[in-house]
Structure formats: C-alpha cells, structure tokens
C-alpha cells in the first residue's frame, strides 16, 4: 500500500476521519488508533514480519525503562550496549548475513581454500533499516539523558511504527514521542500545507522519478551497447530519479503527518543547490546523515581528536562507508560510501568542511556564475556516485564509466521519442525552477506567501494535469528495498 495508490487513499481517508472526528478529544485513543492503523499498514505490506516489529518494540521499550531505573552507571551502560547490539544485530542478521557469508566464501576460495558455505536466503523485513535506527537512538538518548523514557508503551510503539515513516523514513528521533503525548488540535493551515506537500511529492514521484526510471532502467540494462552520450544522459537522469523518488516519498510522508497534526523531520533541503559535497550531505537524506553524525561521526571524531585533520578524515570516511552500507549488502554500496568519504578530504584539508555557504544571486535572482559552476561540479560528483550506487556490481559500474569515456560521448544520445523526452525534460526543468524559487521555504510547494487564491488554484490544476498526463504508474519506491 504505497502513498500513490488508491488503497492508501481509502485507508488514509478512513484513518483521517476517525482520528479527527470521534477521537478528536481523546489523545490516548488517538494514539491507540494510530498504532492500530500503523500495524495494519505494516501488516498489509509484510504481515509475516509484524511480530518481529512488535517484539523488537517491546524489548526496546523495557530496555529504555531499565536504563533509566538502573542504580549504577555501569548497568545503564550495559543495557545501552545491549540495545545497540540488539539493534545492530537485527540489521546484521536480516540485511547483511548472507552478504558476509558470500563475501568470506569468495575470499577464502580466491586464496585456494575450499568452502561449502551456503547462504540462508533470509527475507529482509520491510523498513528494517528505518525502524532499527529509531530503536537504537531511543536507548542511546536515554543513556545520554537527552530524553526520559516513556512509560506508555502505546506512545513508544506508535513512534516506532508510525505508518507514514515505517517503510521508508524519514527517521524521526525519540523527541517525536513528546508530540504524541500532547493534545492535538486540528490546524487548518497545517493541514492545507500537508496536502500541498503531498501533491508536490506525487508530482516528484510520478512525473519526474517514474519517467526518468523508464529511460534509466532501459539504459542500465543494456549499457554495453549504448553510446557514451546516452550513458551520461542516463546517469544524469538517474540522479534526478533517485532524488525525485525519495524526496517525493518523504514529502508525502511529511504531508500525511501534517494532516494528522504531527511534525515529521525534514529529509531533503534542495540538495542540487549545494555548493560542495559537505553541504550536499547536509541537504540529502538529512534524517539519516544527522543520525549517523550524532551517533557515529561525532563520537569517532572525538576519539580521533588527537590526530587532528587525519582523525576527522578517518571519522568521516568510516561514517560515509556506513552511509553506503546502510543502503544494502553489496560492495557497490561500500564503494559508494568510500567514494563520498574521500570527496570530503579536500574539504577538510582546505577548511571548507564546516564552513556554511551562502548562495549568492544576481539582480534577477539567478545564482552568480561561480556558485552556479560549484553547483554543477557538485552535481557531477553526485552523478558519478550514483553510477556506482545504481550498478549491480563494481565491475558493471567500471564498465559503465568506461563507456561514458568512449569517443561516442560527443554523439547525440538516444532519447527515445519526443513524446517521452519533451515532457521529461520539461518536468525536470519545472521542478528545478520551482525548487530554486522556493529554496528558502520548508518545501517546494509551500504557498503560504501567495495571497491570490486564483494563482494557488492554478498551480494545483497545473500539477494535477501534469500528474495525469505525464505520470507513470510504478507502485513502488526505490528506498523500499533499503
């Protein structure tokens, strides 16, 4: 049941009216209902793994209480370590065990040893990368005394399983629980803003991402026979696809949260306007990068502080490799993370790593040439990383890059037909222009500054027509696989 499906529309309509009409004045009942709806949503996608989610939730709920009530710091630390080990263990088992077995088997076989190891064909629970990070951050923050554990199991379970975020994030922090404990009033402006954000998310997913996917999938599956220019164009479209797919999902999740009176953490901040890679990662998949910054990079950086810049480089490389590995069990993800980690090296050495950049615009509101070129360079670096990310293996990524470097790079790329590429290019240009105009706003379709109802309705009509006319009909999201 994905956001862009009729079944979700029906599901959410029922949830919305029950939540706001009979349960309006009963916060606890609202939470119980949200939890039931979330478990239904998760079970609808993957009912076999629902018991795992419930058991993991209960274990961490009691761990949280145990950490708080521990009489000694040592016990609290042990319980926290237990929580982290359980959380990481869940991930390792479901996501990485087969990968490690295969990798070690290959390693030993390449050294001449005979192995008859077999994989377990483990089925990965949907959303495991997202909910385990929530579980881990809960016990760490309690141990750091940044939050108090909740005594209400429903609130905690709702935070973990909250249906807009369970399958693909954003990864909210335990502070979200406090929202669940407060009385919620229906806020007209927030709800309208939520609907707008959903509309924009649908546009990004169905118009931009799904149309890019049609081209990208075709080229990546036949990359050996494509010209360099076609491969380059497909790589560029793949960057747009990745962004539009995931940010579109995040926008819809945040919009759904707003309709329920809940604020979900922001996940993207117009990353294609970043002036360097450090800034790119401050704008891309923010909930994951801040999570890893808080729980991996910062402690490592502190531990390596005596090595100064070398220590910081080491910490960032480890952090970025984990970012890559978080996406899945494949060496391409490890390489992707390593590549991004290494891109930080010149920034750390030059001191630009921590520097906040301010986009400079000229008199007509466009970026100044220098900033524009920096944005282009950042985009090019991101696109190169996307090739590694998207490829099925490192060998394929290498062949793909070699293909781009071919002499046919300067030929005219294959573009499918004009019925395809004209709307595609127009939709990409449209989203870039809208994002540029709205770059200081909370999301691209934040229309709170526009007074004219005619203009607002016109924007809705244009988006709905685009959705209908140019929309694809894929019923999945890239980040579901993670």
């Amino acid at each position: 049941m994905v956001f862009n499906s009729i079944s979700f529309l029906l599901f959410f309509t029922v949830v919305f009216f029950i939540y706001w009409i009979p349960l309006k004045k009963h916060t606890k009942a609202q939470n119980v209902f949200l939890l039931a709806a979330s478990y239904f949503f998760y079970g609808y996608a993957d009912w076999k793994m629902l018991p795992l989610l419930i058991i993991a939730t209960l274990v961490f709920f009691y761990l949280g209480i145990g950490i708080k009530r521990s009489k000694s710091e040592k016990t609290a630390s042990w319980l926290t370590v237990l929580g982290v080990v359980l959380g990481v263990g869940l991930l390792l088992y479901f996501k990485y065990l087969d990968f490690f077995i295969l990798s070690f088997a290959h390693l030993f076989e390449s050294m001449g040893f005979q192995t008859n190891w077999h994989t377990f064909n483990i089925i990965m629970p949907l959303g495991v990368s997202f909910f385990t990070f929530k579980l881990i951050s809960y016990v760490i923050e309690i141990h750091r005394e940044e939050i108090d554990p909740t005594n209400n199991v429903v609130d905690f379970a709702t935070y973990i399983a909250f249906f807009p975020c369970i399958l693909s994030g954003p990864i909210d922090r335990p502070g979200f629980i406090s929202q669940l404990q407060q009385k919620r009033e229906f806020d007209y402006n927030q709800a309208v803003d939520g609907l707008r954000q959903i509309l924009w998310g649908l546009f990004m997913k169905l118009v931009v991402a799904d149309n890019c996917a049609k081209y990208v999938d075709q080229v990546f599956s036949s990359y050996m026979s494509q010209s360099g220019s076609t491969l380059l164009w497909a790589a560029i479209l793949c960057s747009f696809q990745m962004y539009a797919d995931f940010s579109g999902y995040s926008d819809m999740a945040i919009g759904v949260g707003k309709l329920l009176g809940l604020r979900i953490t922001r996940n993207f901040k117009f990353p294609f306007f970043a002036l360097n890679m450090a800034e790119f990662w401050r704008r891309w998949h923010i909930s994951l990068t801040t999570w890893l910054t808080d729980y991996v990079f910062t402690p490592l950086n502190f531990r390596f502080r005596h090595w100064r810049k070398t220590g910081m480089i080491l910490a960032i490389v480890i952090n970025m490799v984990l970012v890559g590995l978080w996406h899945g069990a494949n060496w391409t993800y490890v390489l992707f993370g390593l590549y991004h980690g290494l891109l930080f090296v010149p920034l750390i050495l030059s001191g630009a790593f921590l520097k906040k950049n301010q986009l400079r615009t000229n008199s007509i509101g466009l970026p100044v040439l220098k900033d524009f070129l920096r944005m282009l360079l950042t985009f090019a670096l991101v696109t190169f990383g996307v090739i590694i990310f998207r490829a099925a293996s490192i060998g394929q990524a290498w062949e793909y890059v070699r293909g781009i470097g071919d002499r046919s790079l300067f030929s005219i790329p294959w573009l499918k037909d004009r019925h395809f590429y004209i709307p595609l290019v127009l939709s990409i240009l449209a989203f870039l222009i809208v994002e540029w105009i709205q770059k200081d706003k909370e999301h691209a379709l934040d229309l709170r500054g526009i007074k004219s109802p005619v203009l607002k309705n016109l924007i809705y009509v244009v988006l709905i027509v685009a959705l209908f006319w140019f929309g694809g009909h894929a019923e999945t999201f890239i980040y579901f696989q993670f």
């Binding site: 229906f186 709800a191 799904d210 209908f468 694809g472």
Partner: protein, 320 residues
C-alpha cells in the same frame, strides 16, 4: 476541520466531475480510432460485420491470414479476429463479444500455431488498455475479470484507468475532436500486413522451447470447438507456416499435435497443416521465425484459400 473538509471536498468533487468528463472524451475518442489495439474491438461493437468466415488466433493469425485475399479468392466476407499477445481464453472472449453484435459465421479457422491455443493467458496484463473504452460493457467485463485482467480500479474509477497511458490519452482526445489523420493503424478487417526487417533472435538461442499445455486451456478449446460445431459452423484447425528451423526448437511439438488431433477427431474437424509448406522453408516470407510478413501472408493465404476451395468443391461433389 469543517472548513478544511468543505474546501477540500468541493475541490475533490470538481476533480471527479472533470475526471468523468475527460474519461468520456478519451474512451469515446478511442472507440472511433483505427489504432491496431482498438480497431477490431471497434469493428465488433459497431456490428454489421456479419462475416461468412472468421479467423481466430493470436498475432500469427492477425498478421498471417490476409483478409484482402480471402475475400477476393473465396468470394465471401471474411474477418480476422486475431488477438495479438493473447491466448485461448481471450480468443473466446473476443468471439463471444463478436457474436453479440454480429451474425453467426459459416466457417471458423482456428489458428493452432504456438502455445496460445493450449494455454490460458500467460501475460494477462499485455495491452490491457484495449479494454478501457469498453468498461461499461458488463458482459465483456465479467469475462475479462474472469481472465484476471482488469482490476476494480480500471473498471470503476473514471480516468484513473488511463493513468500513465499517455499515448491512449493523447490519441483518445485527438480522435474525439476529429483529428484522426495519424490514427490509421493499417488494419483491414482485423488483418494487418507487417513489413518489418527479418529478426532471427529466437533461432540464435540454444535452449529448447517447451510449449505449455494447460489443462484448463485444453478444456476451453474443446468446449469452444463443440460450441462452434453445435452452432452449425464449419471449423478448421490451421497450422499456419513457421520458419522450419524454429520447429526443431520446440521440444514437445508432437505432444501439442496429439492434443489438436484428439479434439479434431472428436468433432470431425479438418486440420490444415502448413508447417512443411514451401513458405515455411524460406525466411523471405517472415519477419521473424514465427510470424509471416506481408508477402508471406499473401502467399500463405492464397494457398489456404486454394485448399479450402478444394475441400468445399469436394464436399459439394459428395453432396451431389
């Protein structure tokens, strides 16, 4: 809350009204076109085809049985119901729909080539959009639903069914407003001659092809044959030409032959076999090993008509 629900509700109602209107425009437009996918359905629904001879089968029938030649050589009114990419269950759906709007044929040729006739639809989603303009036909829809093609979204939600089908939207709207100049699918009474470049990809594969024999499909072919015979229709099974090296790629062609032979014997149906005809020996008659090109369809149909004529003359002599 009330304000939100009212304002949102009004917009939703406007969108629904527009959706119904646009859906009507697209569907009505597509019902006027000659685009390959819709041409045969549109002919069927218009009625008055009243063919003496009907061809039934998949893409091999559609591109192989030349209706220009059948009409002129046999001096009768023929129509080709060949259904690209579909199997026996859908041949029957199309035939039953044909019969609701058109008179009973005298002769039916069932093209028994390939697996389509002995398997229920392997790809029920293939070109499913061809049914969208006809979702209001309950009888057709009940049969299509049985063949697991359209879901409730496509059947009951206006416009949502066309979501993502850009070509259908554009063609439907243009056709509705009379801009039909580019909508000629080159169809003639269900037949379209194809002149594509020769493609022998199937032959280059080393693996053998196993023709799926589905019990349900065999039962359907059996009861369909009986239905036609009981209706007083003369039925022929036709094994239209395939490029001869392809035949050796099928690992169980004898098994399929025995199924057809059993049904043919049961209902006294004549089998016309062109697997070893001179056409099958020459790739110049094909655009791929399984499909005749326009030249092949002409040669094959002439040969078929000659054979049918001989059989009918023979029967006439016997009757005298």
């Amino acid at each position: 809350m009330k304000k939100f629900v009212c304002q949102f509700g009004v917009r939703v109602i406007i969108v629904i009204v527009i959706a119904i209107a646009v859906d009507y425009v697209i569907s009505a437009g597509l019902r006027k076109t000659d685009i390959r996918k819709y041409s045969t359905w549109n002919d069927i629904y218009k009625g008055g085809l009243d063919a003496d001879l009907l061809v039934i089968g998949a893409s091999n029938a559609w591109s192989g049985f030349n209706t220009y030649i059948m009409d002129s050589a046999l001096h009768l009114n023929s129509y080709n119901l060949g259904f690209d990419g579909h199997n026996i269950d859908y041949y029957i759906v199309r035939y039953n729909t044909y019969r609701r709007f058109n008179a009973k044929p005298k002769v039916v040729l069932i093209n028994t080539l390939f697996s389509g006739t002995l398997d229920v639809s392997a790809h029920p989603q293939y070109e499913r959009e061809q049914f969208f303009p006809f979702v209001n036909d309950k009888e057709l829809m009940s049969q299509v639903a049985e063949a697991k093609n359209l879901g409730w979204k496509e059947r009951y939600l206006p416009l949502v069914r066309y979501f993502g089908y850009r070509e259908e939207i554009e063609n439907g709207v243009l056709a509705f407003f009379g801009k039909k100049d580019f909508l000629d699918g080159g169809m003639h009474k269900g037949f379209r001659g194809n002149d594509y470049a020769w493609d022998e990809e199937t032959l280059s594969k080393d693996t053998l092809i196993s023709i799926s024999i589905n019990t349900e499909a065999v039962l359907q072919l059996n009861s369909f044959s009986k239905q036609l015979i009981d209706d007083g229709i003369q039925v022929f099974f036709v094994k239209s030409p395939i490029y001869y090296p392809l035949r050796s790629k099928f690992e169980n062609i004898e098994q399929t032959d025995s199924v057809f032979n059993a049904i043919a014997n049961k209902y006294d149906i004549t089998i016309l076999d062109y697997y070893f005809s001179r056409i099958s020996m020459d790739s110049a008659y094909f655009y791929n090993p399984g499909h005749l090109n326009i030249r092949g369809s002409e040669e094959f149909t002439l040969e078929l008509c000659h054979d049918l004529d001989s059989i009918w003359n023979h029967l006439r002599l016997l009757a005298q």
